[in-house]
């Protein structure tokens, strides 16, 4: 324990920088991925024959190791191998692979009677989607966002093998120096970051789906 406080007091700026980079590298692709997967998921429901191809494709994408994607992307995108853009794009792709399916499942879970009722009340397709279907699908979609957020936060560190990995830099440095303190600090911060992100999304979900608590006598 003494070694850890020692390490922290001497390297606080390195740790804070790594943490901030980690947050940016995890949150940016999450936002991009969720925004892109909403229309994909919608299309998979609107045109039912797209559902299974999208499901299979995302399964395949998800099975490609992140390290492989990180090293392959510079050649596809023309970026430098040390560019953070590679990490952001790679994690955005994983987020889409996970979320497209979840968005589709969420929209499919909406009771058709409710969408029929909305149509009967004169809701046009877009308004019905935004005001009725998406809010009702929110619990399923946000469950997927929680999974994506937590796994993104954990995946960022692999980028350290390429020199851009937020807290992962503490792992590679500790391993090179055979020094446990930075690794332990990195693991604890990474897990804490995931827990905080998870909690924030749960709170967001409570805020946007007030009806889900109505029956619990709140």
């Amino acid at each position: 324990m003494n070694g850890i406080s020692n390490y922290l007091s001497q390297n606080s700026s390195i740790v804070v920088d790594a943490l901030l980079q980690h947050i940016v590298l995890a949150v940016l692709p999450l936002l991009i991925g969720v925004l892109v997967s909403l229309p994909i998921g919608y299309l998979a429901v609107r045109f039912g024959w797209l559902y299974h191809p999208i499901l299979n494709l995302s399964g395949i994408v998800y099975s490609i190791p992140s390290l492989a994607v990180f090293v392959a992307l510079p050649y596809v995108l023309g970026t430098r191998i040390l560019s953070p853009v590679n990490i952001v794009v790679a994690l955005a792709i994983y987020t889409i692979a996970l979320m497209a399916r979840t968005v589709a499942d969420g929209l499919r879970s909406v009771d058709p009677a409710l969408t029929d009722a909305a149509t009967g009340m004169g809701y046009q397709r877009v308004r019905r989607l935004v005001e009725v279907e998406l809010p009702l699908a929110a619990p399923v979609i946000l469950a997927g966002v929680r999974v994506a957020a937590v796994s993104n936060i954990s995946l960022v560190s692999v980028g350290a093998l390429l020199g851009v990995g937020g807290l992962g830099a503490l792992f590679t440095r500790g391993l090179q120096l055979d020094y446990t303190a930075p690794i332990l600090v990195g693991v604890v911060l990474s897990v804490a970051l995931a827990a905080v992100a998870d909690l924030l999304i749960v709170l967001f979900q409570r805020a946007v789906t007030p009806w889900s608590r109505a029956g619990q006598g709140v």
Binding site: G59, I60, Y62, S63, I64, P65, S66, L67, A68, V69, V71, A72, Y75, Y94, L98, R101, T102, D105, G106, S109, P139, V140, A143, G144, R146, V147, V150, S151, I153, S154, L155, S157, V158, A160, L161, L162, L167, G168, L170, F171, T172, G174, L175, D178, Y179, T180, I183, L184, G186, V187, S190, V191, A194, A195, D198
Partner: protein, 251 residues
């Protein structure tokens, strides 16, 4: 030799050569098999116990989240500095990765069994163990297989990290390729790992077809009816299924 892509160069497929693709592939499969076996032996009984008794559910529910949050590269580095370089830290780090999906899916699979079916089995005089192995487990198998397949995919992808701590497996192509700036080698590693993941998933899907009762999947009867029943019963708690089916650790 510069003209032939690494993946297609016959010399790289020479069995007898150390570090050739087939040798790395066998090592990679070895890591995967041992890890999934050990993880299964730990997680499956615990999942059965929690799912059957309903006690300790929070462990099963939170295991999935905790497993996802823990960065495998960090855990591996930590174990290597605490122990030493070798097979054991790799095995432990990967086993930690496979326990959550198997545990969570076993639990979720048992929980989503229709309580009426369990009541009926009890009413017929079945003991607790008989209910578990003759009623709950067969009905839960599709969900459990989902977790097992997720675990296998995750290990196949994540075992590549082993090469970073001087381990073997297909990760060698990625790590060595990176060190040598040999793009062809990295690409070969990425392609072979992705193909391996797909082939293993198809194999497990085949095993699942053989093992899961036609009464559950609806095959051989009025087509689709049974499958729809399973889908419907699962849809009651979509959050649980999302958690059980899809996980990606530091892979």
């Amino acid at each position: 030799m510069d003209d032939t892509p690494y993946l297609l160069d016959g010399a790289n497929w020479d069995w007898s050569r150390t570090g050739s693709i087939p040798q790395l592939l066998v090592d990679h499969l070895g890591y995967t098999a041992i890890t999934v076996l050990v993880g299964f032996l730990i997680a499956f009984p615990i999942g059965l116990l929690i799912g059957h008794t309903g006690k300790g559910s929070f462990i099963a529910i939170n295991a999935g989240n905790a497993g996802r949050a823990l960065p495998t590269l960090g855990l591996l580095s930590l174990l290597v500095t605490l122990m030493s370089i070798g097979f054991l830290p790799i095995l432990i780090a990967l086993v930690v990765l496979v326990i959550p999906p198997i545990l969570t899916s076993t639990y979720a699979g048992l929980r989503q069994v229709d309580p009426d079916a369990v009541d009926a089995a009890r009413g017929m005089g079945m003991s607790g163990l008989q209910v578990l192995f003759r009623v709950e487990l067969p009905i839960a198998l599709p969900v459990i297989f989902g977790g097992l397949r997720a675990a296998v995919l995750q290990v196949v992808a994540t075992a590549t990290v082993a090469a970073y701590v001087a381990g073997s497996g297909l990760g060698r192509l990625l790590v060595d390729g990176l060190a040598l700036s040999d793009y062809g080698r990295m690409l070969a590693g990425a392609v072979v790992v992705a193909l391996l993941a797909i082939v293993l998933d198809l194999l497990l899907a085949g095993v699942q077809r053989l093992v899961v009762s036609p009464g559950i999947t609806g095959r051989g009867q009025s087509r689709g009816r049974g499958a729809r029943f399973v889908a419907e019963s699962g849809a009651e708690n979509p959050e649980e299924l999302v958690t059980a089916g899809t996980t990606k650790g530091t892979s």
